[in-house]
Symmetry: C2
Subunit: 368 residues, 2 copies
């Protein structure tokens, strides 16, 4: 079997093509804002291009987002044969995390979540153990985020979704409590970069991990450095950062900007459109599963940090005087955090000093 490097393109994901579509769709979407005129509503235009869309409805700030799990269910389906567990309870948490971790970046607290479970056929739903895990995990993740599970859609899409598979996604609506709106206005040179620990791969880079499993001796059963099977470690659920953010707000800390580190990895740190350089002087420890992935694929550091979370699933950019308190607040919510760098005036780029990596502005094009 080939031992050459695997990149995203060979794994079926071409971000350049998707990004072009995103830009075109964003332009069309902007034109619809006029429909709020005369209804006591207005969109917060700055939220376009951010991770959640925000509308002011008669003084209430509503945030909304729709996100999908990606292909992580394929890993669960394969690992079930080894582990004897369905893993759909943790996939439920992953799916909700994709939506909720985006929603909270604008300062919102989740209110309600809708489930989108599109199966390849009705048969999917007759596996009682898997179905129960999915329902239970969905409920538990809602509980942890203090969100109401408002409803959902469970279609059988034979011919669209692959036989035996399911497309999992979540929509989340939240409100932004007074004083918490965070659309980038407050970000300033000198702000500290606080990175929050990831549990593992979360749900980005899974296509790469699947490609690796195909050619790995032992496949998903291969052991990683801490002795765990690769497949099971991949399935560690995404951290739900909503309780962390609530802990931070409760501690009287108002972050200046937040980034959910998903696709594009640490390139996402320059999500803000302003001219700032994000200089990282420290990096958090890599979860063993990501260390394994980086070595075995292999990915050079720039590829790894440019596409995976590498141990940092979420970033808070805070006033320098708030940085240590933010770390403590995160720990109080059970999530490790580190002050890893600072925001500087200068060209929009991310510099990871310990690794000699620089991502330039052109490496991340999310906005129209």
């Amino acid at each position: 079997m080939s031992r050459g490097p695997i990149d995203y393109s060979s794994a079926g994901v071409d971000y350049k093509r998707i990004d072009a579509l995103k830009v075109r769709a964003q332009q069309a979407a902007r034109s619809t804002a006029r429909h709020l005129v005369g209804r006591g509503m207005r969109e917060l235009e700055r939220s376009r291009g951010e991770s959640a869309y925000v509308v002011d409805v008669g003084g209430t700030l509503l945030a909304s987002v729709t996100e999908c799990l990606g292909t992580k269910a394929l890993v669960a389906d394969a690992v079930r044969a080894i582990s004897g567990r369905t893993h759909y309870d943790t996939l439920a948490q992953d799916t909700i995390a994709m939506a909720v971790n985006d929603l909270i970046t604008v300062g919102a607290a989740p209110v309600s979540v809708h489930a989108y479970w599109a199966a390849g056929s009705s048969d999917w739903f007759s596996d009682a153990e898997r179905m129960e895990d999915l329902v239970r995990g969905w409920q538990a993740a809602c509980d942890r985020c203090k969100a109401v599970w408002g409803g959902g859609e469970t279609p059988a899409l034979s011919g669209v979704v692959e036989p035996g598979r399911i497309d999992l996604a979540a929509s989340c609506v939240g409100t932004v409590p007074s004083g918490r709106l965070m659309l980038g206005e407050r970000l300033a040179a000198g702000d500290a970069i606080v990175l929050l620990a990831a549990s593992g791969i979360h749900a980005n880079g899974v296509s790469l991990a699947r490609k690796l499993a195909e050619r790995l001796e032992g496949g998903y059963a291969a052991r990683i450095a801490d002795g765990r099977p690769f497949g099971e470690a991949l399935l560690d659920p995404t951290v739900l950062y909503a309780p962390v953010m609530e802990s931070v707000w409760s501690a009287g800390i108002a972050p200046h900007y937040c980034v959910n580190i998903t696709g594009h990895g640490w390139r996402k740190l320059m999500r803000h459109p302003g001219s700032f350089t994000y200089r990282l002087t420290a990096v958090p420890p890599r979860p063993p599963v990501l260390e394994f992935l980086q070595r075995e694929l292999p990915l050079d550091p720039a590829e790894a940090y440019g596409s995976l979370n590498m141990g940092a699933g979420f970033a808070m950019l805070v006033a320098p005087g708030d940085a240590q308190a933010a770390v403590r607040a995160a720990l109080g919510a059970g999530v490790q955090a580190w002050v890893c760098g600072a925001v500087e005036p200068g060209a929009r780029r991310v510099v990871i000093e310990p690794l000699g990596i620089t991502y330039e502005s052109d490496d991340l094009k999310l906005r129209a």
Copy 2:
């Protein structure tokens, strides 16, 4: 080729299995309502089991829904070879209609829509004509519903979504203007049943139509009674009923209950949990494509009206004195409507007198 009847089960859709899951998920979902306590919010419990979920957020009533298109894109993909058009502009309207037509049943007006376009691979997005049609159609449907296109998700899900295919869905958030909340409290014996015209199959029963096309001489190019190709007629976009409802509300009519007639066809007319008999004394004309489908599959009348819209895409149940005004308001918004029957006290059932059909309460189980 077989000429035997095609039912939903052989077409890959088993509503019984899906309904069991829905009931289990609804029970788990209900338990999460406590997360609104102490936040100045409460859920409107009656909205559970309705077509949209409603939360009171500090006096603002928020409605939300997530819905998918189903498998209609498979028809578009096949018909494109005949028609030379992608039809993704009308599929966009179908997808938004699935969400918005649900949302408005509780009295809400749409505020924002999120797109969920999950493709089998990134290649899907490089067909510029199709992509442009999808974006343009999405924008146009938002315009017609006076909804803002707030954002979306465009993943490439190789291994989950079939190669070359796309899973289209929409999430919609709306608000319920003062006095418009409609969760069933007002429904009363004596109310008139006003049915709104469907344009064709909309997006329910498409699996049946695809099965038929497979065995039909000429397939999607077969001519139906009005001379149009079967496939193109199938692709007539779902009526957006939001402008109709706005026209009705503007005319000073407060419907007592509304039903979006989708899966389960006219059985949905007894969506309300109360003990009422819905007696239809007239039926609207069948769109030629549904007449063709019913005859060619074949479906007996009870099967046809129990799974397809048969020309009625939406029902308003209104005070008898409002019925004619509701019909006029619908016409004013460009949609034909008919007063087709009345709500009676009695067992929960739907009686379609002209066709000798009765659906009993057990034929529609949507609630936990």
